[in-house]
Symmetry: C2
Subunit: 417 residues, 2 copies
Amino acid sequence: MRAVQARPRIIVIGGGFAGLWAVRGLRRAAADILLIDSRNHHTFQPLLYQVATAGLAAPSIAAPLRHILRRQSNVTVLLGQVTSLDVPQRQVRIGETAYPYDYLLVATGAAHAYFGHDEWAAHAPGLKTLEDALAMRARVLRAFERAEAAEDPAERDAWLTFIIVGAGATGVELAGTLAEIARHTLKDEFRRIDPATAHVLLVEAGPRVLPAFPEPLSANARRHLERLGVVVHTGRPITRVDERGVLIGAEPIAARTVLWAAGVAGSPLGRALGVGVDSAGRVPVTADLSIAGHPEVFVAGDLARVERPSGLVPGIAPAAKQMGHHVAQTLRARLRGTRGKPFRYRHYGLLATIGRMAAVVDLGRVRLTGVVAWWFWLVAHLFFLIGFRNRLVVLIDWANAYWTYRRDARIIVDGSP
Amino acid sequence: MRAVQARPRIIVIGGGFAGLWAVRGLRRAAADILLIDSRNHHTFQPLLYQVATAGLAAPSIAAPLRHILRRQSNVTVLLGQVTSLDVPQRQVRIGETAYPYDYLLVATGAAHAYFGHDEWAAHAPGLKTLEDALAMRARVLRAFERAEAAEDPAERDAWLTFIIVGAGATGVELAGTLAEIARHTLKDEFRRIDPATAHVLLVEAGPRVLPAFPEPLSANARRHLERLGVVVHTGRPITRVDERGVLIGAEPIAARTVLWAAGVAGSPLGRALGVGVDSAGRVPVTADLSIAGHPEVFVAGDLARVERPSGLVPGIAPAAKQMGHHVAQTLRARLRGTRGKPFRYRHYGLLATIGRMAAVVDLGRVRLTGVVAWWFWLVAHLFFLIGFRNRLVVLIDWANAYWTYRRDARIIVDGSP
């Protein structure tokens, strides 16, 4: 009779695209998997901006991790905040409790970077979680309320000025949607202000919007944004953010609402791995996504710095899924006693919407703009959204928003008036 | 040429059923109406418990007041918290700004009463607003998470014990739904606990559940609750609530989750009217819902104490709507120079659901129970829900929940893990 061998313990920190896809890829593995997340749900991050701009309810783009994984009996889901990592001892700690592992995947993603000005965060919130999205929604809706109540014209203008910092996909999507809300959604609802007079400014330090896209698509996106009424500033860095507004270069602009969609900072847990991080806080990984000197520790998703001939693997959902999937493959190989293959990123393309019925899509050889790109974007996002109910409800909300310009999640639920 | 007469100024405080129905009833009135609410949305309170128990997303039962009233050009909606009322001077204040009125309607509703134990509120939250509902949802979902993480069996049991205080409609609805969640929704999702072992206790100081209903319906509701696994205690008052649990009479019960659905306390603004309040903080009104000595000041909805031969007018949505409607009628009469009629409450009936596919309905001569009552409840609530999209999305969520036992709003979005 052979001694019963203990099943290997795999800990996955983070239930985003990388972590969740890794766990799912291990569904037939003879291992005990512990998935730790500080939230109880997986968030479909590509649609966060729609929650922030009141187009969708929070539950439409999130699903409880437990529910997604309920049939995968080799997984235990734990709600908790990892307080420390001990790589030499192979332990993860949540408060007083230590969880030992044989293999570890850290997939805790990234937050926004304020380029060394963390004090800007209070005035210019970012958009990475559902909490962020609900806070941003409340902030934007309340700005119009404050403008309506304001007696002083200068104050009213400051409440009606919205600045979006960073013209990547999120910044472009926020700017386009805000312009649409000001011009259409809120029509006829105010008595003292005209929401259509709101200023929406998109400010980008680099030379063009959507810098990851080919130049012609950037130019197309910019034209669409300007047609929607967005004022686009490129090549102009923000040099200050405070409660009164921003400095663009040396020019002060009074604005009570500044939204941050610039810069990336890898989750602080990355530093605890002991292999250093790059300037954006990302952890350098080896060919199979493990870290140097510790083949049992993997990093995937936005937290991983993965080189490829044409630059870094981008911080987008498909890349995170591929990495998660690859870590699962490698672990399955290791459990069989064989070696895994190196990770190869497959780039399918980039998408960004620009308000109503316009988008840009870069599929390499194929480039789409306008309405066609928008339909492509819509179908792709609906297809990848987790859960049948979500898809149906999101489709209804979008159809409704399309025909009526209404955005039915326009409720402020964070308390203070 | 006649001098232009200034249009009378009507201020309505509170955009609940009473306030909103009053404003809508004045849509053709030659008056300037100011609707003040501390929230930007009307809440469909009868379905709050479904948001609290993760069956519906918050936007499904709320609609922005501005949007509802966008076509009514004699109304200005103002988001703000009234800080004082000056009845002799006919002024309402929001911070530094005073708003004069010719007619005033105070319709700020009621909160929960803790019978002189306000310190219980922190441990036993009530359910009156969407914020309350989201906080309650997070508390309930987190309790199961804490139970899963607990190492100590006594602690685990305390996290798996849910006490609902007060067996009116809200208490019964919460208890029934919680039992359903524990036994069905969360099935297979946990690895260390069995959610079906959760204890759901419904505690009522009075002699029976649903005291406003006829006795046979109370008995029916109790049987249904017990079949769902709810332990019902009647005739047993709660004598203490703290972080460890409750005292029922002298019996201590360890429970980390206590939900409050007992008692009513009129909004504090009622006291500022200067005509006294009853023991529940409600303002006594005259036959036309104005207050004694001030025919220009009205109170409607849950804040009003309205006598009728068979007792008080109940604090339910249809009563609030009727009062709001009646105040609008009276004001229209006054604006025409005639006198209004006294308010007459029409009681159509009472409804309460008890979990899945069961309800009790009391329509006076007609009484319904079980499945028939549940269908009646469903159709009535869908019919009265504001907004087409809401109805459709709610229907999808309910159909989905019915077939699958899933509750898709099961996300915790208040931050702390």
